[in-house]
Symmetry: C2
């Protein structure tokens, strides 16, 4: 499975994997893909620095990238304390009542409360870029479209290409005009921030709109080699995945019994493709999430409207922490795509990648038979 992106990045397979876990990212790179580490969870640049040092030591010199979350428009800035003042009491009361109704335990006394993800404040995302560019990263991806021009220029000065997510052809074209090198075409099926247009329509539409000006990575609904074949048949130069690696053996975030699965993984393993919702309750922008009692509570009559970014995530961050640290899979808060219906076992990253390659090859041979018979 070889496209021009393999040569450009020095990778064996054109499989790009976004993940918040450095263990997963490193394993993807070692297995021949491109691990892309999500930085948004690092409020403190020193924490990111330590994790990237770990990446350098555990990727055997293979390429890896980082993913930042930098909105095109500069949102409210300030510390968590400043921003906290902007959150209405009605919303705080709703959170407290919902957690009580759902029986979510408090955090252990020795655990620091999560002050909320500040990673999409421009100041924090810029600190991620500063730190990352001191490491041998091969890609900076932005989950919210084009980063500001000076950030793109800064990456290019270091020889690092920039990728940006797009949910429409218009946005994809704008990204390339802004200097973005690679477009991630993210269909409606995807986990996290996602648009309205389904992958099978969106992918070729963006490929054609860019007309060779930038390669396209297909995202949204990919979990098997057959789906990789579909993406490449539709004109993509590679795939961008995320959800399917949340149930990898290496994924270690959230509460987990030693040697077992985590509460988050338990929730993902039993979900079907119908068990996601696309809501503004995670960040303030539409994002696909696992449907749980938590998302049901926000859908119920009387629930408040979500706040704009970045306030909504500040509002819910401690609640997310409490739910994901509990042992109850009914109440986790987790972005995931519709491919969750196929995430039914815990597998090592290398096995997932091997199936993607084998499944792609089988599917393409099947098309040969259909074509030539």
């Amino acid at each position: 499975m070889h496209t021009e992106l393999c040569d450009r990045f020095g990778i064996k397979y054109p499989i790009f994997v976004f993940t918040p876990s450095e263990k997963v990212a490193a394993a993807v790179s070692r297995a021949g893909g491109m691990g892309v580490l999500g930085c948004v969870r690092f409020n403190d640049a020193d924490d990111l620095e330590a994790v990237l040092q770990w990446m350098d030591e555990n990727t055997e010199g293979k390429p890896y990238g980082v993913d930042i979350v930098m909105p095109a428009k500069i949102p409210t800035e300030g510390t968590a304390v400043d921003i906290n003042k902007l959150i209405p009491q009605e919303h705080r009361d709703f959170i407290a009542k919902t957690l009580a109704d759902l029986g979510v335990p408090p955090l252990p006394e020795d655990e620091a409360k999560n002050e909320g993800v500040l990673g999409w404040l421009h100041s924090v995302a810029r600190s991620h870029v500063e730190v990352a560019l001191k490491h041998p990263i091969k890609l900076i991806a932005n989950a919210l479209g084009s980063p500001p021009k000076d950030v793109i220029d800064q990456a290019h000065e270091h020889g690092v290409p920039v990728a940006a997510l797009a949910g429409s052809a218009k946005h994809a074209q704008r990204h390339v005009e802004n200097g973005v090198d690679i477009v991630v075409a993210q269909g409606h099926e995807a986990g996290g921030h996602t648009g309205e247009i389904g992958s099978v329509v969106l992918w070729p539409e963006i490929v054609d709109a860019l007309d060779g000006k930038a390669p396209v990575l297909a995202a949204g609904g990919i979990g098997t080699g057959r789906q990789v074949a579909a993406a490449l048949a539709l004109g993509a130069s590679g795939v961008w995945m995320g959800s399917a690696f949340l149930t990898s053996a290496e994924y270690d975030l959230g509460h987990r019994e030693p040697g077992g699965t985590s509460t988050i993984q338990d929730a993902l393993l039993r979900a079907s493709s119908s068990d996601t919702v696309r809501r503004k309750i995670y960040t303030g922008k539409p994002a696909r999430l696992l449907k749980t009692k938590w998302t049901d509570a926000w859908d119920a009559e009387g629930a408040p409207d979500p706040l704009p970014m970045p306030l909504q995530n500040i509002l819910v961050s401690e609640a997310h922490q409490r739910m994901n640290e509990s042992d109850n899979p009914d109440t986790v808060a987790m972005p995931v795509g519709q491919i969750v219906g196929r995430m039914n076992e815990i597998r090592p990253v290398a096995d997932i990648i091997a199936e993607l390659v084998d499944g792609f090859e089988s599917a393409s041979r099947k098309l040969d038979t259909i074509r030539d018979s």
Copy 2:
């Protein structure tokens, strides 16, 4: 492009096209696909009989099928007059005000008012089946899932296989248990009645769930040969299309200047893939429609909730007729999928089919290169 369905149905390509136009259906069958004529617009069985006689004379002995709309549960029965009594005055007032606000002209005095689609009443759908089985049809498809068991048995006694649309693996399995022979896996991208799960996730999920018990036709988002390749790579045995043929040269429904495009086609030609909405306002069940000033009016504050099937379509039928007979493309009422963004020119049916075949072959050869290089 040859699958087992080609042998089973005696068709050249595994391309099944649902269309309300007999002109399009016949042209599809003549071009090597399977034209499937939508019966729901025929309130009078005699009208359907006349059109099927025309089909027999214009398909050169090639196979064709019919599509009925028969809900699994028996809805309210009765004539349009009986059913009219169940429609609240608030809804009638909203329609009248909206048509006035949008400047929709009245029908010409010599044109009969459309009394609303009764085709999904069981009694009417059964009359469609009775009439169709007197013709050499090769397929009966049901747009709302499994038809009742006696209807399936009746088709089988005539040697006619039954297809049913499904938007989830659970529904697909139930259809096959009920005796359905072929499942149409209809993804979120599709026009008309459609579910939540995107095609790239849904198609292989249904293929795997049925495990060879019935072949799967992929639907939702297919308009080019690349998308046919994606569908077959994902395990489908053929494709089921609809929207892409609304802008065929043969499509002749709705107001149309002689030799020109119709008002509906004008609206479709200029729409992008973002210009659809999925709403209950057409039939009472969620269906993807072209976004127009009419759908905007139903989305505005103060609009009433849609009525259940079959009342909603009875309510809006004359309004649809008035809008689609006008010359204003801003106010048409038309089910269409997200592939509308690629429907940018009027082409003969044979040209559309030829591109599907050529595009499939190119895409599969591209995968060979990616696999073997």
